[in-house]
């Protein structure tokens, strides 16, 4: 049982117009086995929350705390956070030319576990995970995200999540840009990881469509750098019907 606890998180970024505060006091607690949907209009700070938790150097934490099972996440380097059990599925995964997917996966698994995986079971695990995500075996020989389509990039993110087995995963708009078939495949992967490992999920999305495939336990509406409202799955249904206008009028 793990808990990611975000308390009063304030985050700034440097822009050409000067320092800008993006997160203005975020409170959020995610436990193992829970799925929290973070929904909100563009520019509300959803991605900033994801990248701040993962430790991207662009974002400066000015106030507040993030802990995983009581450990101070903000004190950890980016790779230490991953080793502690955090995972970020990125909206725009980065190309790393010349580094094959299979080499990358094995290197990451070795780093996370602190030892190289047993070759035979590892090959089987990778093969199985790729089959589940309808990825061709030749995928392993391609450069990381090199020339991948949008859908391939997202499936590759979920593949990593299934193999690295984090405690808490942040999915940053994993659904955007996917057609229904790809969305279903990716959602199955998320649900599988949750079922197999009791993963806790922070599901960041702009659209309600993914919530037909991944059932959230909690829904948080994110507006202007903080949680404006929270509730159960019914809140998502209301958002689907009404959109975000109600919140934006007040913002």
């Amino acid at each position: 049982m793990s808990t990611l606890e975000i308390r009063n998180l304030h985050v700034t970024v440097e822009t050409p117009e000067g320092t800008k505060e993006i997160l203005k006091g975020v409170d959020l607690t995610i436990n193992s086995g829970e799925t929290h949907a973070i929904m909100g209009p563009n520019g509300s700070g959803k991605s900033t929350l994801a990248y701040s938790v993962a430790g991207h150097p662009k974002y400066e934490i000015t106030e507040g705390s993030v802990t995983l099972d009581g450990e101070d996440v903000l004190e950890m380097s980016v790779d230490e956070r991953a080793k502690a059990g955090l995972f970020l599925a990125m909206q725009y995964p980065v190309e790393v030319p010349g580094v094959s997917v299979s080499n990358f996966l094995r290197t990451a698994k070795t780093a996370i576990d602190g030892e190289a995986p047993k070759l035979r079971t590892w090959v089987k695990d990778v093969k199985g995970a790729m089959e589940n995500l309808r990825m061709d075996p030749s995928f392993g020989e391609r450069g990381v995200n090199e020339g991948f389509s949008g859908g391939e990039k997202k499936r590759h993110e979920i593949l990593q999540m299934e193999l690295l087995q984090p405690k808490i995963a942040v999915l940053d708009e994993t659904d955007s840009g996917l057609d229904v078939d790809a969305l279903r495949i990716v959602s199955e992967g998320v649900n599988r990881a949750k079922e197999n490992t009791g993963l806790g999920i922070m599901l960041i999305t702009h659209y309600t469509r993914i919530l037909r495939y991944i059932k959230p336990d909690h829904v948080h509406v994110f507006v202007n750098g903080r949680v404006a409202e929270q509730g159960g799955p019914e809140l998502a249904e209301r958002l689907e019907a009404e959109g975000y206008d109600r919140y934006l009028a007040n913002a």
Binding site: A54, G55, H56, P57, S77, V78, D79, R81, A82, K83, F87, L88, M90, P93, V94, E95, V96, P97, G98, V99, N103, F104, T107, A108, A111, I112, G143, Q160, L164
Partner: protein
């Protein structure tokens, strides 16, 4: 068609076009006469990025006292390595030298060593020549000659130290195929200026790979000239400059006849405040060279502050009747987003840097086609990266 890709060019990089004060690249002086070339000052077009001060002893028109130790793999039937007297050596060189260092090298080398592969001889195993310097000034002249339809791989590996200048002449008769690998793995105080001149007969194929990792100053000028139709040249280069190293690679591909293909692909990494690299790639498509297909590419990866990479592609086209002609040059900083991506998967900063740099060079290394060299190079690059880590710690 000219394709120019300037993605990621940064302030550290100069990428200028068509800086050719000569009327044409073809008009440069070539001569066996040392006096045809004034002592370079660094203001000349072909020396303006060079470490002229460190190269000075290579310009002196006087006898040199040192030598390189030669170790050669067993030569199979049809392959000979012989000493050739000076007059004959000049006679068998494919073109006259193109600069003073090269002319001095020929004049004072005391003749040439000639590696000759007889017509129709196909050599399966790589022929390796290890050249080891034990200090002092050394002048060299090497002839590599392949008869009609001969095929071979030749690896020349330079180690140790010297103030070395040389001319390497490559003569490919019709339909010959040569895979030539020149490894500069000198000690850190070596100074090396080399001119590599290739003449390609009809339907011949040259793959030339240059790997420059060692030495204080290395300056290699490679020229390939097509003498017959249907020939192709692939020139690959890989370099890694640390603090105190100056690595310069100039290339000139002369499309003088129709239907030839050239590809130039050079990649370099730089680490350390005074690391310096220069790449100048000239391609000339003469009026007669219809059906030419050429592309040249240079990429530089700047790993630390202060390093400087100059990259200058020049394309001269005298006929429109070509298949394709293009170039790309890009010099990029180490990509922080790549680092973040890898590290967010638990991979340490050091390991992530290693992956990115290895990935950057991977496709080039696989082009060498000599497994033992490829493996050794990957290890060398790992050592270079380990060295970068030390540099970063001192910052």
């Amino acid at each position: 068609m000219t394709v120019t890709d300037h993605t990621q060019a940064t302030a550290d990089a100069a990428h200028s076009h068509g800086v050719i004060p000569d009327k044409s690249r073809a008009d440069r002086v070539v001569s066996f006469d040392v006096d045809a070339f004034p002592v370079p000052t660094g203001r000349e077009e072909n020396w303006r990025f060079s470490a002229v001060r460190d190269l000075r002893s290579l310009f002196a028109d006087e006898a040199a006292d040192g030598h390189l130790e030669w170790t050669t793999s067993d030569l199979p039937e049809g392959v000979t390595l012989t000493q050739v007297p000076a007059d004959e050596a000049r006679e068998r060189t494919v073109r006259e030298p193109g600069d003073r260092a090269s002319a001095v090298a020929v004049k004072h080398a005391g003749g040439a060593m000639a590696l000759t592969i007889a017509a129709n001889t196909v050599v399966d195993e790589p022929i390796t020549i290890d050249l080891h310097g034990t200090g002092g000034d050394v002048r060299g002249h090497l002839l590599v000659e392949l008869g009609q339809s001969a095929e071979a791989t030749v690896v020349v590996n330079r180690t140790g130290t010297a103030r070395y200048s040389e001319l390497v002449s490559i003569d490919l008769k019709d339909n010959a195929g040569l895979n030539l690998v020149l490894l500069q793995q000198w000690d850190e105080d070596a100074v090396h200026a080399g001119e590599v001149l290739a003449r390609l007969g009809r339907d011949s194929r040259l793959r030339g790979t240059v790997v420059t990792l060692g030495g204080k100053v290395v300056r290699l000028n490679t020229s390939a000239a097509f003498a017959g139709e249907g020939a192709s040249v692939d020139l690959f280069g890989l370099y890694f400059a640390d603090s105190g190293q100056h690595q310069e690679h100039q290339l000139f591909v002369d499309h003088a006849v129709p239907k030839c293909t050239s590809r130039v692909t050079y990649k370099g990494a730089l680490a350390g405040k005074t690391a310096r690299s220069v790449w100048i790639g000239d391609v000339l498509i003469r009026a007669a060279a219809e059906g030419t297909d050429t592309y040249e590419l240079n990429r530089n990866l700047v790993l630390t502050d202060g390093a400087r990479a100059d990259s200058v592609p020049n394309l001269e086209i005298e006929t429109g009747e070509i298949e394709g002609a293009g170039h790309a040059s890009a010099t990029g900083r180490f990509d922080e987003e790549q680092m973040f991506y890898l590290r967010s998967r638990g991979i340490s900063e050091e390991q992530a840097r290693k992956l990115v740099v290895r990935g950057f060079f991977a496709d080039l290394i696989h082009e060498i086609g000599v497994p033992a060299v490829e493996e050794s190079l990957m290890r060398q690059i790992d050592l270079e990266i380990a060295h970068v880590e030390e540099e970063l710690e001192h910052e």
